[in-house]
Amino acid sequence: MFDGYTSSELMSIFAMQGFAGLSLFSVFVLMAMGLAIIFGQMGVINMAHGEFMILGAYTTYLTSGFFQSYLPSLFGGYFFVAMILAFLICAALGALVEWLMIRRLYHRPLDTLLATWGLSLIMQQAYRSIFGAREVGVELPEWMMGAFQVTDLVELPINGLFVMIIALSIAVGVYLLMYRSGYGKKVRAVVQNRPMAEAVGINSAGIDRATFALGCGIAGIAGAAFTMIGSTGPSSGQAYIVDTFLVVVFGGAQSLIGTIVSAFGISQAQSTMEFFLSGSMAKVLTLLVVVGILMLRPEGLMALKVRR
């Protein structure tokens, strides 16, 4: 499969595809991060996660429209406002969903899966009714357009870099929150032993709600970032959901590092193979390898050591 390429061409191909893979990686990290903290904390799979992401994306779309019409002078900075708004809106909706639905279903994770799938259908159709079935895109501020020319063959688009920076800073932020804050300590206590955590006075229901809201909020930021590199349609979220689940499960639930490593591995494998094989075969191979590894090592790459 490498026939006909010189070694320097191969290097550039790998660099370019590697970078293309990095923007996929950023989307994976952003989506998987929210999913992973919800799954790790509560054992709940949120099938509507992709739709929360799209909610963030539509929020960004509306914000950019607002800035364009009313505050054109500040247009360069609209993205940051949009990001905060996306986080707040998604987190608020997440908290509401948790309160209405999820908290009644903690003992039945499989049912949560179905209920959140129902939610995702409703949200998708709502987007379709409100924003139309066509994909929408935002206008990038000027400073985000263009690309760095690294060598003759390799160039890196700025918006991709920017999204990657967001992904990494969110990852660092989540790490700090989970391992360096009082809230994180409580979350980890609940994860490790719920009855004991309750016994020492941790409000586990409150922690659950906050975590679910946080996860959804991060999905919102993911959606805001997503608009920078692609257009948004009502069902864009669903396109990523299976990959994201696999990222989370493959990385090992409850392990943030594992999530990042597996997001990196899956996105790189997929985008590198895409150059040499057809896109669909690259995806099939990647998913097959991941599923195969999961069958051999069901706890994922980096799992908490628990006795079973």
């Binding site: 639905m101 003992h107 039945r108 499989l110 179905l114 129902g118 259908l121 689940f245």
Partner: protein, 410 residues
């Protein structure tokens, strides 16, 4: 197939309460619907019924044993594709495909510049092999997946996610390999089965009755399994897996068995689907289709095999009804159905029937025993009547993941 257990004769069983429920379903499917509907609508009911096979499998697999598979569409599709490959080969005789650059191979292969039949298509010239493959291929895949997962004690959400990923993989693969599989259009233009035209109204009506007969066969197999010790173990496994394991049962083997059984049912359903609808495409396999199959089972009642049939019929009828008049409302209804079934009535229509209609029935039953034959025309599902006390109790306090959050109970 064996006749129902522990009854002195079949006749006695048919006058028992459970027998009457089965008779009611039979009357609905064999007498009422064929009389009330024109051949086109009847064909659609036949299509819905093919989904009931999947739903029965899911009742056994998810409702009883607690294994949620979000990839039942895979098995449905495999069964369907096996049948479609046979029919397609029959339709692409060298005479019928004389205008192609390579006569004798299916048209989509010719469009994709294939010059000979791929090796895995060869055996599908034989009808007996096809019948075997319809059940065998899904079961084989289910066995491989089940063996890999269950012996490593993977279950619950992980299993659901991985089966979903497999559905995604198979869909992408089929769409990507257009030359071998027909791609996104699927395998279309199927005409005859062993020389018998399947597109006429008469043939479609016949196929409908074949489908009903197969459905009852599957119902009795499922009923046989659930009423035996095997079924008890499955239910017990769902509630307290470790206790069953410590009692000396090989939990993984039982799980593999029930998963394979569900796959076989789905495969049969898929094959009948191909026959009744006349084509097969990847859209019946994918993630969305697979998860919709779960709602058929959930709406009917995840513990009731008869409920599953009604669930599949109702959801699909509602789906075509909505899609004809208010296409934009259907996803809302479907979403609400998912949430409602899970939150408000986890035991589905069968559960509702059990708690609301059955007491009524009981009163009628006492006054005049013949009133039982009434539910024939009722749209509500009829769960198996003589549910043993264990199961009735379980239905009341249904809590499949009890072991996760109640350490004091284990």
């Amino acid at each position: 197939m064996k006749t129902p257990s522990k009854t002195p004769s079949i006749v006695n069983w048919f006058t028992s309460r459970e027998g009457l429920y089965y008779l009611a379903l039979a009357a609905l499917l064999v007498v009422i619907l064929p009389l009330a509907l024109d051949p086109f609508r009847l064909n659609m009911v036949g299509k819905y019924l093919t989904y009931a096979f999947v739903a029965i499998g899911l009742v056994m697999c998810w409702g009883k044993a607690g294994i949620l598979s979000l990839g039942q569409g895979v098995f449905f599709g495999l069964g369907g594709y096996c049948m479609a490959m046979f029919l397609k080969l029959e339709a692409s005789t060298p005479e019928a495909t004389a205008i192609q650059s390579t006569p004798g191979i299916p048209d989509f292969m010719d469009w994709n510049q294939l010059t000979e039949l791929p090796w895995f298509w060869e055996p599908f010239h034989s009808f007996s092999f096809t019948l075997l493959a319809v059940i065998g291929v899904p079961m084989l895949l289910a066995f491989v997946i089940g063996f890999a997962m269950f012996t490593r004690r993977v279950g619950g959400v992980y299993f659901a996610i991985i089966t979903q990923a497999i559905a995604a993989i198979l869909t992408i693969l089929i769409i990507g390999q257009q030359g071998y599989t027909g791609g996104v259009n699927g395998i279309t233009d199927l005409q005859t089965l062993m020389g018998w035209d399947i597109r006429t109204d008469a043939a479609r009506t016949t196929l409908y009755f074949v489908c009903v007969a197969m459905l009852f066969l599957c119902l009795f197999v499922a009923r046989f399994v659930q009423n035996r010790k095997l079924g008890r173990i499955l239910v017990a496994m769902n509630a307290q897996e470790n206790r069953v394991r410590f009692s000396g049962y090989d939990v993984a083997a039982f799980k593999i068995f029930v998963f394979c059984l569900a796959a076989a049912f789905a495969g049969i359903g898929g094959a009948l689907f191909t026959l009744i609808v006349g084509f097969m495409s990847p859209s019946f396999i994918g993630i969305v289709a697979s998860i919709e199959m779960v709602i058929f089972c959930a709406l009917g009642g995840r513990l009731s095999i008869l409920g599953a049939v009604y669930g599949a019929l109702l959801v699909n009828a509602a789906k075509s009804g909505f899609s004809e008049s208010f296409p934009e409302l259907w996803p809302f209804a479907m979403g609400a159905l998912f949430i409602g079934v899970v939150l408000a009535f986890p035991n589905g229509l069968a559960g509702l029937y059990q708690s609301y209609v059955m007491p009524l029935e009981e009163r009628l039953f006492k006054r005049k025993p013949k009133a039982e034959a009434q539910p024939v025309s009722e749209p509500e599902p009829t769960p198996e009547a003589r549910k043993p006390a264990v199961e009735a109790k379980e239905a009341r306090e249904y809590d499949p993941m009890i072991e996760h959050y109640s350490p004091e109970k284990s």
